[in-house]
């Protein structure tokens, strides 16, 4: 319990590094290919999902995210390659009983109440019915459990889907565009639920094209474009970058020449009075500030930043543009 507490306060990336020590594969994908007629939706894709990490699958619309998830979730047939769940000793449909997944829209029987729908899921997964109230409580639908599914708003439907995915206390939670089509409140609610689940150490695989969403919760990403893998690994190692400084100073030109001649800096960009200097090697802000001071340059503005996921993502997808 103490660990969880610490995690909540130190941000999620930290906790992942702790748990990451034990590499226990949950999902292994090898050279997976899916063709729809002439269109290749997924091309020779390989990656591994390990226990305890929060993964994001990033990619523009139509990049093969949902197809990949569909294949591992037993609803889309693969063309070539293979995948296995856990250590590969159980069949896919039995493995799925230990997985919680929501893809695209929430699919339930409209004429059944929330409770009846979850009861059905319990029967499929072989889970004790007593879990129903517990999970409805988590997503805040306990008071609406006797209402029919068709009377629910989209946000409620999505929350019910999350409750349903959690019924079996899954080893991994797969979410495909969980906030798609929701209003700001709905998005906020879903994100909060996801963060709470992540903080308990559950492995999560989140497919999304909303980069800030992925950035907020994921430690690892797989970046796809047109069915091909561009990158798989840690978010902070996505591009080899030491970050950059945003600077302003009275002695604008001196600062600029100094930076241009300094070995630690590569690319220098100037926008109005703002100088952006990209680092070639690690350097922290105090060191830099000290350096400037000894050079007699007094900074009026100093910010050290790393590229946001969005910038990294765009850089990655642009660089590999055919």
């Amino acid at each position: 319990m103490f660990v969880v507490f610490v995690i909540n306060h130190c941000g999620f990336l930290f906790s992942v590094e702790k748990i990451n020590q034990i590499l226990e594969p949950i999902l292994t994908i090898n050279n997976l290919t899916k063709k729809f007629g002439y269109l290749t939706a997924v091309k020779d894709l390989s990656f591994t999902i390990n226990k305890g990490n929060v993964y994001g699958i990033l990619g523009p619309n139509g990049s093969g995210k949902s197809t990949t998830l569909g294949i591992v979730l037993n609803v889309v047939n693969k063309t070539e390659g293979n995948f296995h769940w856990f250590d590969g000793s159980i069949s896919t449909h039995n493995a799925l009983k230990k997985v919680g997944a929501i893809i695209e829209r929430p699919n339930f029987y409209p004429y059944m109440t929330a409770e009846q729908n979850l009861k059905l899921v319990c029967r499929i997964k072989g889970v004790n019915l007593s879990k129903i109230n517990e999970k409805l409580e988590i997503v805040g639908l306990l008071d609406r459990k006797d209402h029919k599914f068709k009377t629910y708003s989209l946000g409620m439907k999505q929350r019910l889907a999350i409750a349903s995915a959690l019924l079996n206390d899954p080893e991994i939670l797969i979410l495909d565009e969980p906030t798609n089509g929701l209003d700001p409140q709905g998005i906020h609610q879903i994100r909060k639920i996801i963060k709470d689940i992540a903080s308990t150490g559950t492995t999560i695989l989140l497919a999304s094209h909303l980069l800030d969403e992925v950035e907020k919760v994921c430690s690892h990403v797989v970046v796809l474009r047109k069915g091909e893998k561009l990158y798989a690994g840690r978010v902070d190692e996505m591009i080899s970058s030491h970050g950059f400084f945003e600077l302003k100073a009275e002695q604008h030109n001196e600062l600029k020449t100094l930076l241009e001649n300094h070995a630690s800096f590569g690319n220098i960009k100037v926008e109005d009075q703002l100088i952006t200097a990209f680092l070639n090697e690690p350097m922290d802000a105090p060191t830099f500030n000290k350096l400037m001071f000894t050079e007699g340059i007094i900074l009026s503005h100093l910010v050290k930043r790393k590229e946001s996921l969005e910038e990294q993502f765009l850089q990655l997808t642009d660089n590999t543009e055919a």
Binding site: F36, G70, N77, K97, I103, N107, F108, K125
Partner: protein
């Protein structure tokens, strides 16, 4: 197996439309037969008592009851095609698979439900036949009562076969209304092929071939009983030649179709991306 049956029953019995249709197809014939066995007084002009025509006597009661009751299967056919159609339109089939049901289990849960309701219906018909038969017949010898009981088995196989066909059509076209339309088209097609064959070759061979077609073979399990009643009333009934018995090869054909339909439903679903 019980788990799969339980799953499907939950899906069906919580749906008002299927509940009504199940009632119509299985419970209603029960009442109709009961009512028809009661003496009717039509506006004081004449009394209609179906029982007087000997239709409720053993052993013919087995034949007549199963023949008429089997028409009510059309209502349950709607349930069967809609239990596939709804899964597709609600996309719950996708969710079921994601939740850990295999495609094989999905088809099996539907098939078990078909077998369950067919068995239930057969049981109901058995009960009603016994009630009506014992009331109207003077026969009390056990072996005479249970003579011709193979009609009951034929009834069961007939229902399972017909619903399996509906299941296959449901999986094939994914939409209930289209599946029912397809069923009708198949019916027409069988008769058109029969017509062409009878015209080009000869009627005897055409009939023999037609007896292998899915709908016709299912129908053929229980032949129409009118001629049999006529024969029993006619003074020298033996002159009429009419084969109304249930034959083993008729069973074999229908069982083969049933197996094929279930297998094809599974194959179709397995090949499909949802």
């Amino acid at each position: 197996m019980l788990r799969l049956l339980q799953l499907e029953l939950q899906k069906l019995l919580l749906n008002r439309a299927s509940k009504v249709l199940i009632f119509i197809s299985f419970i209603l014939p029960f009442f109709i037969i009961l009512l028809s066995s009661i003496r009717f007084n039509v506006f004081n002009y004449f009394t209609l008592e179906v029982g007087h025509y000997g239709v409720f006597n053993f052993p013919i009661v087995w034949h007549i009851m199963t023949f008429f009751a089997s028409y009510f299967k059309l209502f349950f056919a709607i349930v069967v095609v809609s239990m596939i159609g709804n899964e597709y339109s609600n996309k719950t089939i996708k969710q079921n698979l994601i939740d850990g049901l295999s495609k094989k289990e999905f088809i099996l849960s539907k098939f078990y439900t078909i077998v369950f309701f067919s068995a239930l219906s057969t049981l109901l018909i058995f009960i009603i036949c016994m009630l009506v038969g014992l009331f109207y017949s003077s026969i009390d010898e056990v072996h005479l009562i249970f003579r011709d009981i193979e009609y009951l088995l034929a009834y069961f196989v007939k229902l399972v076969g017909f619903f399996s066909l509906c299941l296959f059509l449901g999986v094939l076209v994914k939409r209930s209304a289209f599946a029912l339309a397809f069923l009708f088209v198949l019916f027409l097609l069988e008769w058109i092929i029969y017509g062409v064959l009878a015209w080009k070759i000869d009627e005897g061979i055409a009939t023999k071939i037609q007896n292998f077609f899915p709908l016709k073979s299912i129908y053929k399990l229980i032949d129409q009983p009118f001629q049999r009643i006529a024969i029993s009333k006619a003074p020298n009934g033996q002159d009429f030649l009419y084969d109304f018995a249930v034959h083993w090869y008729e069973f074999a054909i229908v069982i083969a179709w049933t197996a094929l339909f279930i297998f094809l439903s599974y194959r179709l679903l397995k090949k499909r991306d949802l």
